[in-house]
Amino acid sequence: MLWRRFLVAGVLVGVLLVSITGCGQTANNGGNTIKIGVEGPISGNWALEGNGFVNAVSMLAAQINAKGGLLGKQIQIVQGDDQGDPKQAALVAQNMVSSHVVAVLGSYDSSDTEAASGIYNEAGILQITPSSTAVGLTQKGYKLFFRTCFLDNSQGAFAADFITKTLGKKTVAIIHDNTTYAKGLADWTQKDLAAAGAQVVFFGPITPGQQDFTAVLTKIKNLNPDVIYFTGYFSDGGLLTRQARDLGIKSVIMAGDSNNNAGFVKGAGSAATGVIVTSLPLPNDLPYPEAKQFIADYKAKYNADPPSIWTLAEADAFRLVVEAITKTNSTDPHKLADYLHNQLKDFPGITGPINYDQKGDRVGLGYAAYVVNANGQFVLYNKQ
């Protein structure tokens, strides 16, 4: 316990020192290398993701260095293992500051990113997280903070856009389960549907684990919506779908991204066929040539698929820094941030075109629609 207090005290003193000394200097070393930090859970429970980060960035940096480097300098990667622990993330952040990196790419989860972002901001280091989706991270007014993932609320925007534009439907029933995630997604979807001119004829919860959803579904059947959108978890989603079809409901059934798994199909049985799920695209389903190139390179080098979509988002974070440095001919993080905020337009990212708003949030819709085929597999939805 005492030891832990010392640790916390040490971190606090460290933060203080950094904020005193860090403000005056830019994080540029002026030597023959450009240092870029990679922060992530390289060990611990999420080691898979952290190693994906390191692999992706090392590979891309090696490719650039082989072609003569950036602004005539070699790129040097500085690794920081925060172990998925916010206390560790603060220490990693200070280490990055004293290593004089230009930018840090990471961390993985929102808690770690939050712990480190204040330190980077004070020290004047550009930070791009590939995977921290918590909305609050970009609400702090940090000018040097960006992310290549989309926010928690962009799935709702995608669902609303998909229902009204791609499917061309007008009336929607939204079912959630009162959990923070599902209710949030339902709220955002409802708001965006209303803005798109669609009518939400039903908005209400089920009780998770109740197993019998026929009462809610009978009510919905009577309202006869074009689409039913379920934002809860697959354990309820499968049953709900099965019971809806048993009751003779003909509406298109859609579900949120936690239903994108085999458990949903098992629970729904044959009723799963034709259900549309909104989800982040799987790496192999990204249609962009940059994505195909990256995945091919990654497989050739590491003899394995990228562990998840976040590996690709980390690669994009690196490519953005390279792009900004090249275009501004500078390694001043403030200039790079200014470029990303104001001049970057439709940058061809691995995860799709990248644009930023003034808060450092990515603009656009990164989600995709999957439909369950007759064999119970999720395939990308193609408009017929």
Binding site: D212, A215, G238, R242, G248, G267, G269
Partner: protein, 302 residues
């Protein structure tokens, strides 16, 4: 009107499952004045045993007719869970019979935790899906109202079991002995009734009924989970109190009423209010009739 009929069917189907589980609660309470919190988990054990019989052992392939397989599943599972119930009574409740009323209650909570965690360790914490269709997926629709063979079967089976138990308790010597025990253990013993054996019998019957409800839930909803007994246990307990705990027709009335309330509140008010209103009605009924709807027959409790 069609929506109303459909909600009635939904409510009756849900309610008859609550009623079956409530029946076990109420019988055990009647004879021991003990709320057997492990009852919901015995129900879950029933559905997992049926799952094992169907999915791992493949009972449907060993027997010629699916209907025989079905009856075999019900009987086998009911017997196994009845034995488990008796064992539970022997280990967790009988040693505490002479102690304060709180001790067996805590023991019941402990038994519930043990059963639940044992299921989780054996079967895993994920959802299990019942394979295939044991009961043909037959549906009828009248106008816009849909009802399924399985739903009708649940309703009929619950009612038949209720009538059977009612006759057993009210019209046989065995039932008379049971009622005597529920009134006064010592007086019953003086009359030459083996009270311990009577209590074991009641546990066997109550647990078996819970198991039958568990099998039905597995077959009807296809999806089971180690922790589902808590939810059903809570609702069934409510149903038992609603109808008057200790009263057998009361369990049926309470279960059906609770199911109907849930369906109609969802259909006509809002799904958010489903449980709030169901429990508000429970409170109102208990204020007006503290012994539950059919609770006045205190002398006949079993």
């Amino acid at each position: 009107m069609q929506q109303f009929l459909q909600q009635l069917i939904n409510g009756l189907t849900m309610g008859s499952i609550y009623a079956l589980v409530a029946l076990g609660y109420t019988m055990v309470y009647g004879i021991m004045k003990l709320i057997n919190f492990a009852h919901g988990d015995l129900f879950t054990v029933g559905s997992f045993m049926a799952f094992t019989l169907v999915a791992s052992i493949g009972i449907t392939r060993m027997v010629a007719s699916p209907w025989i397989a079905l009856v075999a599943i019900f009987i086998l599972v009911a017997c196994m869970v009845a034995a488990l119930g008796v064992l539970l009574e022997r280990i967790a409740y009988r040693p505490l019979r002479k102690s304060s009323r709180l001790a067996p209650l805590v023991s019941a909570l402990g038994a519930s935790t043990v059963l639940e965690n044992a299921l989780m360790l054996i079967y895993g914490s994920g959802y299990l899906v019942f394979p295939g269709k044991l009961i043909p997926d037959i549906q009828w629709s009248v106008g816009n109202v849909v009802f399924s063979l399985m739903g009708v079967l649940i309703l009929v089976l619950s009612f038949v079991i209720l009538v059977f138990i009612y006759i057993l308790v009210q019209m046989t010597n065995f039932g008379a002995a049971m009622r005597a025990c529920s009134l006064d253990h010592d007086a019953a013993r003086l009359m030459g009734i083996n009270v311990n054996r009577m209590i074991a019998h009641v546990f066997a019957i109550g647990s078996g009924l819970g198991a039958i409800a568990g099998v039905m839930v597995g077959m009807y909803y296809h999806q089971i989970n180690f922790s589902m007994g808590f939810n059903y246990g809570l609702l069934a307990f409510t149903a038992a109190v609603l109808g008057g705990i200790g009263n057998i027709p009361g369990a049926m009335v309470g279960g059906l009423l609770l199911g109907l309330l849930q369906a109609l509140v969802t259909g006509y008010i809002s799904p958010s209010w489903q449980n709030a209103i169901a429990f508000l009605v429970l409170i109102l009924i208990l204020i007006l009739r503290p012994t539950g709807l059919l609770g006045e027959r205190v002398a006949e409790k079993v």
